[in-house]
């Protein structure tokens, strides 16, 4: 029987994009660290947004990359992880203002970037743990 790997990996990036994603995240941190002394107070919000966007792109590349052997169980675990990430996103949205008010933080709203980054992190983490538990 010939493996039908392409059927399940359709729409996902090749597996080497995991490394590309990791490099993008590391580069994002390095560039942010190097640029920090040269940016003015007015440029800070823009620099922060760009850094977070770069990290989100890196996380997205990792999340949207297929495994070396992508089969039906990978798809199953991917859906489970997405559900967990979605659930955590909702919990994060609901509890963030409560936690912020306890910490005397004036900013009670969460940005889309924060939410997307949290969900991506949770997706990657859950998928990794689920894959590990099946070894």
């Amino acid at each position: 029987m010939k493996p039908s790997l392409s059927k399940y990996g359709r729409g996902l990036l090749p597996s080497y994009f995991k490394i590309v994603g990791l490099i993008v995240i590391i580069l994002g941190f390095i560039i942010a660290f190097c640029v920090k002394p040269y940016i003015t107070a007015g440029q800070k919000p823009l620099a922060k947004t760009i850094t977070i966007n770069v990290i989100i792109i890196g996380l997205f590349l990792i999340a949207w990359t297929r495994d070396k052997i992508e089969d039906e169980m990978s798809v199953h675990l991917r859906f489970q992880s997405m559900a967990v990430a979605f659930l955590f996103g909702i919990i994060f949205c609901l509890f963030h203002p409560v936690v912020s008010s306890f910490l005397n933080d004036t900013d009670l709203d969460i940005s889309g970037q924060q939410l997307v980054m949290t969900m991506l992190l949770f997706f990657i983490f859950t998928y990794f743990l689920k894959k590990r538990s099946n070894k």
């Binding site: 029987m1 010939k2 493996p3 039908s4 790997l5 052997i69 089969d71 039906e72 169980m73 099946n134």
Partner: protein
């Protein structure tokens, strides 16, 4: 759902990796099926049965809670 994949594999004296290569899935998938953590689709069940030259019913059996 119970299954006898491990027994059938032992009869043929092949490893999880070898069975995974024959079917075209990862070794983790075979392990999950054997330990009943994952219930395979009809397609995968048929592939497993074909690899053992038997029927799906001979390998997979429904339990009371199914």
């Amino acid at each position: 759902m119970k299954n006898t994949v491990k027994v059938e594999r032992a009869k043929l004296n092949i490893t999880q990796q070898e069975l995974a290569d024959i079917i075209g899935v990862s070794r983790q998938t075979i392990n999950s099926v054997e330990t009943q953590k994952y219930i395979p689709s009809t397609v995968l069940a048929l592939k497993i049965a074909t690899a053992f030259n038997t029927t799906v019913n001979a390998i997979f059996e429904l339990e009371d809670e199914d």
